[in-house]
Every structure is written in C-alpha cells, then in structure tokens.
C-alpha cells in the first residue's frame, strides 16, 4: 500500500474522461471518468447494471463511446476495433474464461500476434518457446503444446494471464476473475496480481466480493446507474461506505431470517452415491427449515442436487418424501412429486429469455393451467400475476420477453416459475449469484417467507455471509462427500472454511 501515495503523482496508463454511451432506450454510461495507474490495482464496484461491463467493452474496443475521450500515455486516441485496443496494450481477462478449447495453450497465448518467419508464416518453434517462457513468468510450468480443453479452469486463467503478458499489456482488466475459482486457486491468483503490479501493469479489478477488494486493491471507483459516484484510495474507505455509494440508499437487512418452528422431516436422502461425482450423502430436511449447503466451487453440490431431480442418475441411494420412497428419473417426475430445483446458471438452465414472462412462469405448471392439453391463456396470466407480484417483479408487462429484464428480475421470474408448481421442497442453487443487492434482499426475504409458510428449502451457496445469514442448519461438502454438519447456533465462518477446505482442527 506504500505506492498509494505515489500514484496520485504518477501519470495514468490510461485515462477515460467524460465517457457516455447510450443504447436504444437506455443510458448505459453518462459522463464517467476513470484513470488507471501503472503498478496499481483499481477496483471497480457497482451493482449489476451499473455500467461496469459497458465500460469494459469500451476499454477493449467492442463498443464505441458516444462522447468523451480516451487518453493512453497522455495521447488522445480511439479504439475503433478490438484489435486497436489490444495494440494500445489493453487486455481483458473475463469471467467465463473465454479462450479456445480446441487450440493449443501456446496458440491461445499468441492468437492474433503469433511470431512469423521471414516468409510471413507462423513460426511454431518460436511460438512454443516464447509461450513456455511467458507461462513461466505467470508462475505456470505446463507444456504449451497441449490443448486448452485438457486444462482445469484455474490453469486456463493462467493461460489468459500469460496472454496478457505476451501483448506487453499496460492495462489488464480482470472481470470477476475469482468467480469460478476454488479457495486455493484464488490465492494463486492474488499472487499473480501482485506480480503483475510489480511488473508495472495498471490493473482494473472488477469484483462483487468486498473481502478481496480490500485485500488486493489500491484504489476504488464506484459506479451507480451509469455514473461515477465515488473514487479514492482503498486505505481511506470503509466497507460500509462502499456499499452505501453502490446502492445509494440505506439497505435494510440483506439477511432477514425469521425464526420458524421447524416441523417433522419432509425429505430424507440416504446412501446417495454416483460413480464419479459424490458418495455417502445422507440427510434429513424438515418442514419450515432452510438447509444450507456450503462448499467450494466444484465440491459436487450442484451435481448432487441435479441427481435429486433426475438430471443425472445416482448409482445407489433412496429418497423418501413425506415417508414414502420416491424414484425420480426426470425433472418432470421431480416436479410432480413436489421437489423443484432452481438452477445455478440462470441464463443457460433457468430462464428462457426468448419467451415472455408469463410463459416462463407457467412452463412447469402447464398441466395445471391447461385443459386436456389445450392452453388456457387466462389461467396462465392469473398464475403468472400471482407469483410475480409476490416476488415484487419490476416489468412493463407480463408479455415482455424475459431477455429484456435485468439479471435480478430474471432471477425473480425463474424463482416464480418454480414456486408456481406449489412444491414441498425447493432447492435454490446459488440463488443470488451475480444479482444486485436490492434483488438479493428481495430473494432472501421471500425465502424466509416461504419457510415460514411451511416449505422446506435447500440453499446451495458459496457465500459465507449468505449461508450464515439464512440457514437453520448447514451441511458442508468437500470433494463429493459431506465434510461437516452444523446447527445455526454453532455456526462460524472459520468452521465452515475449515470443513470445506479439509483442514482439521488439529492442524
């Protein structure tokens, strides 16, 4: 943090001034400014829809600003194409490691600027040798000739970073780089960020996780509704101030957990196992209970939940619902028995963005709204109205395509869709991942309300505050097995992390 005092005197590596960008009907950015300094990490924070990703796209030449200027090393410039931004030394590492599975590691690093021989042809020998050297600098030592598809997600990140080093980037944008990483991988990433800093790169770090922002960032910039509402040194700011700037209003409790009388067991899972993904899963879920499933990304929680609803088949194990043994072979059977799963990947598994809101909501309940296989639109609108209003959905009409809604409102539609089936058990997989704080609070409040009405809730989450704030009981999974069980009274962040990471008390 010693550099912080010096950055103000340094010239920025890149400076955006008065940038505006509009899309039909939306002002995505209005008059924002942002300066990134060499050897310094600037955290960009803001709710979803605050304009962060638009800014990244302007910085990388994907979008053109309507107004404002971009200065690189004190020279005014424009980025009419992605290539021109890359040539100016701006590189982005994205949330979904966007690289090429079918190409080799070396090619991924050098795609677009591969070394050529004197005939203008790609020089593979030099390419591989240079790639090896860059990987080494990024702290990785694997073979650059293997195909990217054979690497895990953390190693793919290293490849992306080696790529950033290869173009001799001045500016490295990291857009939620830790979203898909495990605990250990995140620490490796922090080490890398330190190395990039030492190399004098200017880093823009976008994240929703405050602990990591306070850990690695030197400066912060806060966006709200497409405008810049605050910036400064991390050392001079408190977490609460950042949240207040982001939200612009006082947030009520984000975790409005109500005390509910827990009833009799509703769902009993015994001896669930799968050849490669999980084994020995036993637990009971009771009426009115919120059961948290904590673990690191890749601990097998989603895989297990999906086997409960028949997406994958377990090799052994039994489910009892209200005491009766159930065999579930497909999601439609799960819905009929009263077990529903709100998937983690909203865009891919949850919402059907090309269909209107009401059709999304009624899709799993069509057998109830229709008569002998024929649609009854009036019933559909009634059902959709009932559940979307309970979730406080903001939309212009129920006939609006879900794709036109914000992430938080899309998630409300997805949850409404599952609730409309009148389930006995609802499984929510990362229900507030990537949605803004306002929507988060609405989802949590609704979760409490559901439990109070006697529904049983399983909540899969990788966020410790959410798990601790909302659960009556927590099960921790690690590498496909149950690694710990905790009552609400005995919960602590340390216990959860230890169980999830496999650190024994003695060690």
């Amino acid at each position: 943090m010693l550099q912080d005092t010096t950055t103000s005197r340094m010239k920025p590596a890149i400076a955006l001034e008065g940038i505006s960008k509009s899309f039909p009907g939306v002002k995505a950015l209005s008059d924002v400014s942002l300066s990134l300094y060499p050897g310094s990490v600037t955290a960009l924070v803001g709710e979803n829809g605050a304009g962060k990703s638009t800014l990244v796209k302007i910085l990388t030449g994907i979008y053109q600003p309507d107004g404002g200027s971009i200065r690189v090393a004190d020279t005014e410039t424009t980025f009419p194409t992605a290539l021109s931004a890359a040539r100016a030394g701006v590189t982005a590492i994205h949330q979904e490691t966007v690289l090429f599975d079918e190409l080799s590691v070396a090619e991924n690093i050098f795609l677009g600027h591969a070394p050529r021989n004197r005939f203008g042809l790609i020089d593979w020998k030099k390419l591989n040798a240079d790639a090896r050297a860059l990987l080494h600098r990024a702290g990785a030592d694997f073979d650059p000739t293997i195909r990217l598809r054979d690497l895990g997600i953390a190693k793919k990140h290293l490849v992306a970073i080696a790529r950033a080093l290869s173009v001799d980037a001045r500016v490295v944008i990291m857009d939620e780089p830790t979203a898909a990483l495990s605990h250990k991988e995140i620490h490796e990433l922090y080490a890398l960020v330190e190395r990039l800093k030492a190399d004098g790169k200017a880093i823009l770090f976008i994240s929703h996780k405050f602990d990591e922002i306070f850990r690695i960032a030197d400066r912060y910039t806060v966006f709200r509704d497409g405008t810049m509402v605050g910036e400064g040194l991390i050392a001079d700011v408190a977490q609460d101030d950042l949240v207040r700037m982001m939200v612009g209003r006082a947030v009520g409790s984000v975790y409005p957990k109500e005390d509910v009388a827990i009833g009799e067991p509703v769902l009993t899972v015994s001896g669930y196992r799968h050849p490669t993904e999980f084994e020995d899963i036993n637990f009971e879920l009771r009426r009115g209970e919120i059961l948290g499933f904590y673990g690191l990304v890749g601990a097998g929680r989603s895989e297990f939940m999906q086997s409960l609803i028949g997406i994958t088949r377990p090799s052994a194990g039994a489910i009892r619902l209200d005491g009766e043994i159930l065999v579930i072979r497909s999601p439609s059977e799960a819905i009929r028995s009263g077990i529903v799963y709100v998937p983690e990947e909203r865009g891919r598994q949850g919402a059907i963005i090309g269909l209107p809101i009401f059709q999304n909501v009624t899709l799993p309940s069509l057998s109830r709204t229709s008569r002998s296989g024929f649609l009854k639109l009036a019933n559909e609108f009634a059902l959709a109205r009932e559940y979307t209003s309970r979730l406080d959905l903001r939309a212009a009409s129920l006939d609006q395509d879900v794709g036109t809604l914000s992430g938080g409102n899309q998630q409300k539609v997805v949850i409404a869709k599952w609730l409309a089936t009148k389930p006995k058990v609802i499984i929510l997989d990362e229900p507030t991942k990537g949605i803004d704080i306002g929507s988060k609070a609405a989802v949590h409040a609704f979760m409490s309300e559901l439990a109070a009405q006697g529904l049983s809730v399983i909540m899969v989450s990788s966020e410790i505050p959410e798990i601790m704030g909302m659960s009556d009981r927590v099960i921790v999974m690690r590498e496909g097995r149950i690694a710990g069980r905790f009552e609400r009274s005995e919960l602590s962040a340390e216990k959860l992390v230890r169980a999830a990471a496999g650190i024994t008390e003695a060690a």
Binding site: I62, A82, L83, D101, E102, W124, R481
Partner: protein, 325 residues
C-alpha cells in the same frame, strides 16, 4: 480412447486401408498402383471442394451453394472457351476462379454484413446460381465439340506419369495445409468457430473471417468448375447437382465438426478419399453402382456417431478416488 481422439485422422487412414484390403480380397487388381492413382485422380475434384467447405464449416457456417457455384463457373469457363477458342487455358482457369470467388463473396457478404444465417443464405444462392446458368444459356448445353482440345486435355495431360488434375489437387492440399497451420487467417478460422465471443476480444473480426472462408470456398468451387467441365467435356445447367451434399459428407467423415472449430486438412482429404474409394470400388466388386448412395449415407451416419463419441467430453470428476485412476 483419448489416443484415438487425438488421432482422428489415423483412425480414418486405418478405416480406408481396411476398406481397400477388403476390396483387394474380392478383386486384387484394385490395389494395383495405377488403379489407386486413377481412384485418386477421380476423387481430386471432391478433395479440392472439401478443402473449401472445411474452411467454411470451421467458422460455424456452411456452404450449400458450392456445387451450384461450380456449375456456374464451369459453364462460364466453357462459354469463354467456345467464344474465344484461342484464349490461353490459364486465363480461363483464372477467370473461373475469379468468378467463383465473387460468388463466394456474395455469400460471405450476406453472412457478414446482414447477419443472415449461413444455411439460409447459401440455400438461396444455390437456387439463384443455378438459375443464372439457365438465364445465361437458355438451357442449352455446351458439348465436347464446342470446346477446344487444349481446354479438354489440360487436366488429363501427363506430368511425371500423373495427370495434371491430380497434381492440382495435391498442390491445393499443400497450399491449404500451409494456410490452415501457418497463417493467421487459418488459425482465425479455428478461433472463430471454436469460440466466436472470445475471438472478438482477441481482435479477430468474426464476420470478416467468415467472409474470407466463403471467398476461399468460392474460389475453389470456381477452379473445380473448370476442372469438372473439361474433364467430362460437357456443361449444362444440372452438372454436379446434389454434389454439395457429397462435399459436406466428405467433411463430416473427415472429422470436421459441424459445430465449428474442429477439423484438419488431412481429415478433409481422407474423408473425400473414403467416399472416392467406395465409389470406385463398387462396380469392380459387383455391387450395383446404385448402392453407392445408400452406402455413403450409412458411412456419414457412422462417421458422425464415431466423431460425436470422441468429442464428448468426460464429465468432471469430483471424487478423489476416481481421480487416482
């Protein structure tokens, strides 16, 4: 299985060798070098076309208009020759290729600038290009006697014991291999098909890359147009009708993924050869040539099933004990 996956081409070589061995068992003269050379020569045009289609499929597009492009370019080449018999053959070849390239650019521009799905664009231009031949000729044929001897004999001319047609296809294969493995454009084809979003961030213009892929397939279709017309010494509206599907079949058999981003030059060549061997072998082993279509249909289905198995990624292994294996 993972070894096989990496050596998709090797698997195909094996399949072709087994096929040739089976044929040789029934009809030994088939494996005489002269006959194998004849089979290759007969497959040359398909190989050239498959190379172009491969580039297009790699970028997640498809070119259904290749055969129609071939027919139109071939017809124009024949008409040029009939009108100006003195025109040197290289000029005719270059004009056929240029016309083919222009027709390819039309496809490419519609895909690039208007974002129309490739299958719709080329479905449309397929009928348009064929219709243009009719407008150009009023449905008349150009027969052998209207073509100059030089026009007809060029692909048959002997060069070191092998016809020029075969040489041309060898040169095209080598050139395409160079383009695909050693030039930024070739690698861009893979990148655009493998992950279009990432390609944009890498500074690759997805639309323009697709445009170039169509230019390439168009140029190769133009070249094939001349070769086809001179080889069979006739040009009319319906030449190579339905051949677009044989081209795609060759690519599919060669392991080029219809979803884009996966494929290779050797794969395309081997896929075309596989079809060529079957086509040439059927008459000699006393199977009705009418069975060829059904057999290539079966081969396509088997090839896509095999490729799909190889491409299917293993599920994430979470349990430690399974990882140890």
């Amino acid at each position: 299985m993972s070894k096989l996956l990496k050596n998709r081409e090797l698997l195909l070589v094996g399949a072709i060798l087994v096929l040739i061995a089976l044929i040789a068992w029934r009809f030994p003269p088939f494996v005489a070098p002269a006959n194998l050379a004849r089979v290759y020569n007969d497959t040359s045009i398909l190989i050239i076309l498959a190379l172009g289609q491969m580039a297009v499929i790699l970028t997640r597009c498809i070119d259904l208009s290749m055969a129609a492009n071939l027919a139109l370019s071939g017809m124009v080449a024949a008409m040029l020759n009939a009108a100006f018999p003195g025109l040197p053959i290289p000029v005719i070849i270059l004009s056929a290729m240029a016309l083919g390239a222009v027709l390819g650019m039309v496809n490419g521009a519609l895909v690039w600038k208007l974002n129309i799905p490739p299958i719709v664009v080329t479905l449309g231009t397929l009928t348009i290009y064929r219709g243009l031949i009719f407008l150009l000729t009023n449905g008349k044929w150009i027969n052998a006697h209207q073509m100059s001897d030089a026009f007809k004999s060029f692909p048959r001319a002997d060069l070191a014991g092998i016809p020029v047609l075969s040489w041309l296809s060898v040169v095209m294969v080598a050139a395409m291999f160079l383009v695909m493995t050693r030039t930024p454009l070739g690698r861009a084809f893979f990148a655009v098909g493998g992950n279009p979003h990432a390609a944009v961030y890498t500074g690759i213009d997805v639309g323009r890359t697709r445009f170039f892929a169509y230019c390439l397939s168009g140029t190769l279709a133009g070249l094939s147009g001349y070769l086809w017309v001179s080889r069979y010494a006739v040009a009319y509206v319906d030449i190579a009708a339905g051949f677009e599907l044989d081209i795609i079949a060759a690519c599919v058999i060669g392991g080029i993924s219809i979803a884009g981003g996966i494929g290779s030059v050797p794969g395309a060549v081997l896929g075309a050869l596989f079809l060529g061997v079957i086509k040439n072998a059927l008459p000699v082993i006393n199977i009705s040539p009418f069975a060829q279509m059904a057999i290539s249909g079966m081969v396509i289905i088997i090839a896509v099933a095999v490729n799909a198995r190889a491409e299917r990624r293993k599920g994430r292994v979470i349990l430690k004990k399974a990882e140890a294996v």
